[in-house]
Amino acid sequence: MHVIIDNIGFLLQGVVVTIELTVLGYVGALLLGTMFAVFRVGPITPLRVIGSIYVEFFRNIPLLALLVLVIFGLPDAGVTIPLFASAAVCLALSGSAFVCEAMRGGINSVSVGQAEAARAIGLSFNQVLGHVILPQAFRAMVQPLVNVFIGVLLSSALAAAVGVPELTNRTQQLNLQYAEAVVCFLFAGAVYLLVALSAGAVGGRLERRLAIKR
């Protein structure tokens, strides 16, 4: 335990980096994912195709492969993005594919009759989506979106492999020095667990708030 207590500041800096990565990656994933979800349910065929290709690509490429491509591949093409930013961008890209599918699932959970009725009273596509479909769809999205958040949080540990000094990376550094792998990684694991559980709790409350009394 003395390893953790003596180096708590060092570890907490890692926790901060992990949280920063997760939040930035998740916010990016939400923005991109929402955009592509709208593409995929929208009436414009080229956008739908682009949305499908985007999702299939980023959903099926391993994050570590993506990280290596962005961090070691792009500089050969003349684009060097700092490590932290690279990791955040990769998390956002990879997460956005899952956000997009979570949103699409939520939208598809609203019965077609709702959309037809809204169209029948003369609402435009944007109005149908904004006033009728999305408010009902949000409730079905909350848990899948929490899952994506937890996914992004846990995936952020992969950034340790490519030099970002987040929690896992710092845990490895401590273990190098003290050879206390079990204690060090138990601590790191507990932190991830705590953040993930908190996210789950927030999601649960949000879901209850959004619940529609039918």
Binding site: V41, G51, E56, F57, F72, G73, T80, G163, Q173, L176
Partner: protein, 321 residues
């Protein structure tokens, strides 16, 4: 509103497009001669390497019978080794044959040959990939019999596991871009960004000797080299032998600072609850005396470090061994 109804045909086309696109991207990032490669230096497996292993000494039946740890391995028929298959010069998998070669791998094969007397090099050992995070634990719970993984002997680690050896004394060197003139030695690393492997004690050495350096940890050797070539890091600090090997295959980098600036003794990691340590130490002394240690050094590290094999370090000569 048109919810997307994706027909099978369209999906197949989309998937094919994505696959094609990713292959193109990957191909574009492939190894051209001027691009950093993310793969290691290929080792030379083959008859001559195998002969170095199989011509090394074999323990007498009495020696093995007197040692519970060795007896168990003889009964098992092979040695469970913890290590890596991607460490240039020390332990790397030959792509064609699947055989592990290198200085660490060779020593583990020699030890297995010494105990079992068998001659099929590929079947002498079974590798479990260990990382710096798992080495001590895997020894303690007997997942592996021994760890050969450029395992630096430190007093902290020696509290958890036994170290036979040291069997190799190395030290850290500094790699920079070919045209770099600002870094000439370890003192110049202060204020610079220094890459090193996350599994190496080099990070500790840098922190101690150049406290103002910003250390970047990467998982693999080739990533560190790429970081230097692409300017993410000003320097790369690691074992001199490995850096020399990297510099041979990448002419855009060079080593600076002359002799290594640290002393890094490598030991064989063993479970503390066994009687393995005296047995492995006796084995090391035998191959030192017979010249097999030097032959293996020549065939592995000696391919990048010029000159004759050094004198092997004295067994038990460092704290923790």
């Amino acid at each position: 509103m048109a919810l997307l109804i994706s027909g099978r045909g369209r999906r197949a086309v989309a998937l094919a497009t994505v696959a094609a696109a990713s292959i193109t991207v990957l191909a574009a990032c492939g190894n051209s001669s001027d691009a950093p490669s993310i793969d290691g230096i290929g080792a030379k497996a083959g008859a001559s390497y195998d002969k170095i292993i199989t011509s090394a000494p074999v323990a007498s039946a009495a020696d093995v019978d007197q040692n519970a740890w060795a007896k168990k391995i003889k009964a098992q028929g092979y040695l469970k080794v913890g290590g890596t298959d991607s460490g240039p010069l020390f332990s790397i998998k030959d792509i064609n044959t699947g055989e592990l070669t290198g200085f660490d791998a060779g020593l583990s094969q020699m030890l297995a040959h010494y105990i079992t007397g068998k001659d099929d090099v590929k079947a002498l050992t079974q590798l479990t990939i260990t990382s710096v995070d798992t080495r001590e634990t895997m020894l303690q719970n007997n997942t592996v019999d021994a760890v050969f993984a450029t395992y630096s002997i430190t007093p902290e680690r020696a509290q958890k596991v036994d170290f036979a050896g040291p069997y190799y004394q190395s030290g850290d060197a500094i790699m920079v871009q070919k045209d770099n003139t600002s870094i000439k030695g370890v003192d110049d690393l202060n204020g610079k960004t220094v890459a090193t492997e996350s599994s190496s004690t080099a990070a500790l050495a840098v922190k101690k000797l150049a406290p103002k350096a910003k250390v970047l940890l990467f998982k693999e050797d080739q990533q560190c080299v790429a970081a230097v070539q692409q300017g993410r890091a000003d320097a790369y600090v690691l074992d001199q032998g490995i850096l020399l090997g990297d510099a041979l295959s990448n002419d855009s980098v060079k080593l600076v600072g002359g002799d290594p600036f640290t002393v890094d003794p490598y030991g064989v990691g063993l479970n503390k609850d066994t009687d393995a340590k005296p047995f492995v130490n006796a084995f090391l002394k035998k191959i030192y005396a017979s010249g097999d240690w030097a032959k293996l050094w020549k065939a592995t590290i000696g391919t990048v470090v010029s000159g004759d094999a050094p004198k092997p370090p004295t067994i038990g000569s460092v704290p923790g061994s």
